[in-house]
């Protein structure tokens, strides 16, 4: 029971983190029609910034805030210097150019911070276990991640659905030429959206940093998960990204936790312990394959075209 609740929360926490990453990716794709592989690099930069700023200021929260600002600025600079020129080009061009950016970022990090990973220690008040049910404790930090991510998801929803900027963003997603013709500064809007996506990726990175080590290439594996989520949820749809992210986070976490035991009941011990790790890492890809067979355009496709 304890394990089930704990793994369930772990899955929720991982899913929400994935949502932050996938939301930025899907926003940028939905609005600018830009495939950004370097999104994982922004996630990595968020983590590195947080580790550095936290060490400088001596405060985790201050470090996190500074890192958030730094990723936002980095995203804006990146958009204005390089990615802006890719709008309207072939998707293949996007893939290649941002692939080049990944190489660049990984190498730059190696040059600046060195090949060894960094650690981002948590303040004492975030490491205490919090009782959530009678007799069941859960780490405060993971609860904090869940709370922050849910809050950001809510703000994102309200921001996109209820504010003027959000209205422009949605309008830009459905017809970019038209809102340009109506006198909206579309360049500025794009830069803003890209910065927002970068900040979301940075937030995910810096929140994940204390749980895993901060290292080069940390953004690449999770970026692929974010892609899977977008494909499952339907490209350009934030609601789809949210549901798919929770779904994928749950399946991945619960699969890794319980699949070995389940397999052991069907297969012999040795066969189960070989098959389980491979099968549990395959699980979400299988899920994606099933979704594609049933609904090739994703579960919640955004209304485009």
């Amino acid at each position: 029971m304890l394990l089930v609740v704990e793994q369930f929360l772990n899955g929720l926490q991982f899913g929400l983190l994935l949502f932050l990453l996938a939301a930025g990716l899907t926003l940028v794709f939905g609005i600018m029609d830009l495939v950004n592989l370097a999104h994982g690099s922004l996630y990595m930069m968020g983590a590195y910034f947080a580790a550095t700023f936290a060490a400088w200021t001596g405060s985790f929260l201050l470090g996190a805030l500074l890192a958030l600002g730094a990723t936002l600025v980095l995203g804006i600079v990146l958009e204005m210097s390089a990615l802006r020129h890719l709008y309207g080009r072939d998707h293949l061009d996007h893939v290649l150019a941002t692939f080049g950016l990944i190489l660049f970022f990984n190498e730059a990090v190696r040059l600046i911070w060195g090949p060894a990973g960094l650690a981002l220690p948590l303040p004492a008040w975030l490491t205490v276990p919090v009782p959530i049910l009678p007799g069941i404790h859960y780490p405060a930090y993971r609860l904090a991640i869940i709370a922050v991510a849910l809050l950001v998801a809510l703000l994102l929803y309200l921001g996109v659905m209820r504010t003027r900027i959000g209205m422009l963003i949605r309008a830009g997603a459905s017809n970019r030429e038209m809102i340009g013709a109506l006198g909206i500064n579309i360049k500025l809007l794009y830069t803003l959206v890209f910065g927002l996506g970068a900040a979301l990726a940075g937030l995910a990175g810096l929140m994940q940093a204390p749980i895993l080590t901060v290292q080069i290439g940390m953004g690449e594996n999770i970026l692929i998960l974010a892609f899977v989520i977008i494909v499952i949820g339907g490209i350009g749809s934030i609601r789809g990204a949210f549901l798919a992210a929770i779904f994928v986070g749950m399946i991945d976490t619960l699969g890794r936790a319980f699949l070995p035991n389940l397999l052991r009941q069907v297969l012999s011990g040795a066969a189960a312990s070989t098959a389980a790790p491979a099968l549990s890492s395959m699980l979400i890809y299988l899920l994606m394959a099933i979704v594609l067979v049933v609904r090739p355009e994703g579960l919640f496709p955004a209304n485009r075209r």
């Binding site: 893939v95 692939f99 190489l103 190498e107």
Partner: protein, 314 residues
């Protein structure tokens, strides 16, 4: 050759260079250059196979490195289990790649555009994780191949020069096959599908079936490259199918010129030589390579072949 063009001249020069390379290596005693170019030729073969689906079929696969791994693991696993004959290893490698391509292609081709890019990427990543989970065959650490594929006296893969010529012959064979495919009725249908799928469907071509066959052919060719690569390094590990390797292959195709016959070969030669050169220059070679790619995408339309074509027109 009907007319002289710069791109034809460059291609001919490069091919002559590739054929004569072992002579140079022997004369100068520079063994390293032969080893380097064996790798280049093998990856050029992989890039050429990717060009078949990307350039002629219009299918942007971002998971092509998976076949390198599958072909390599077929050789490695059989060697591990005591089956050393290349007459078994290579057909198994090709069959395994073809089967994987059939399944992945059937699923991925339900989507198009950017979905297709992401799906092929995700499936290749799945293959990567499966290989990492193969505890019996080295898992994450990879699998050492103690004996190269044995072709019972026909050809000795442990001889550097013979192995190089085998790889080169495979490359020429594959390029020839791609040339025949591109100019066949089948290839013309594919190129029609690339330009306008709806219209081709309206004429009555079953588009998915054509694309799937092309996808499988390309995957099988790349599986051959995988089997050769494993023999070249005497080693196979999940790292050969990591997604950055798929990206490398895509870069080679684009750099050389997508949809041209020899473009990917030139792209592979230039990309890998550049990588070699930059990594000798500085440890942080990717710091230069990354922005260089960005510039190629932004300004170098049509890749090297496109550039040579423009030179020709003056």
């Amino acid at each position: 050759m009907k007319t002289f063009t710069v791109s034809k001249a460059v291609t001919a020069l490069m091919l002559a260079g590739l054929v004569l390379l072992p002579l140079y290596s022997q004369a100068s005693g520079n063994i390293f250059i032969l080893t380097l170019f064996t790798r280049i030729v093998i990856l050029a073969l992989a890039a050429a196979s990717l060009n078949l689906i990307m350039g002629f079929g219009g299918m942007m696969s971002f998971g092509h490195a998976a076949y390198l791994g599958i072909g390599g693991y077929a050789v490695g696993m059989l060697a591990q289990e005591g089956v050393g004959s290349g007459f078994i290893q290579f057909p198994v490698a090709l069959a395994a790649s073809a089967t994987y391509a059939l399944v992945i292609g059937a699923l991925s081709l339900r989507t198009r555009g950017v979905y297709f890019i992401m799906i092929t990427l995700a499936f290749a990543q799945m293959a990567y994780y499966v290989a990492s989970g193969l505890a019996r065959y080295g898992g994450d650490d990879g699998l050492t191949i103690y004996k190269r594929s044995d072709f019972s006296g026909l050809i000795n893969l442990s001889n550097r020069t013979q192995f190089y010529y085998l790889c080169l012959a495979c490359l020429f064979g594959v390029v020839f096959l791609i040339w025949r495919i591109a100019n066949s009725r089948f290839g013309l249908v594919l190129q029609g599908l690339r330009s306008n799928e709806q219209r081709m469907q309206a004429i009555g071509f079953p588009s998915k079936r054509y694309q799937l066959v092309c996808f499988v052919i390309s995957g099988t060719m790349c599986g051959l490259a995988g089997a050769l690569l494993a023999n070249n390094t005497d080693f196979v590990s999940p790292a050969v199918m990591y997604w950055t390797r798929s990206g490398d292959l895509m870069v080679m195709v684009i750099l050389g010129g997508m949809g041209t016959l020899f473009g990917p070969v030139i792209g592979a030669v230039v990309y890998l030589l550049l990588e070699e050169f930059l990594s000798q220059l500085t440890e942080y070679w990717a710091l230069i390579m990354g922005p260089l790619l960005l510039l190629v995408v932004l300004f170098g339309r049509g890749g090297i072949m496109g550039l040579l074509g423009r030179l020709n027109r003056g």
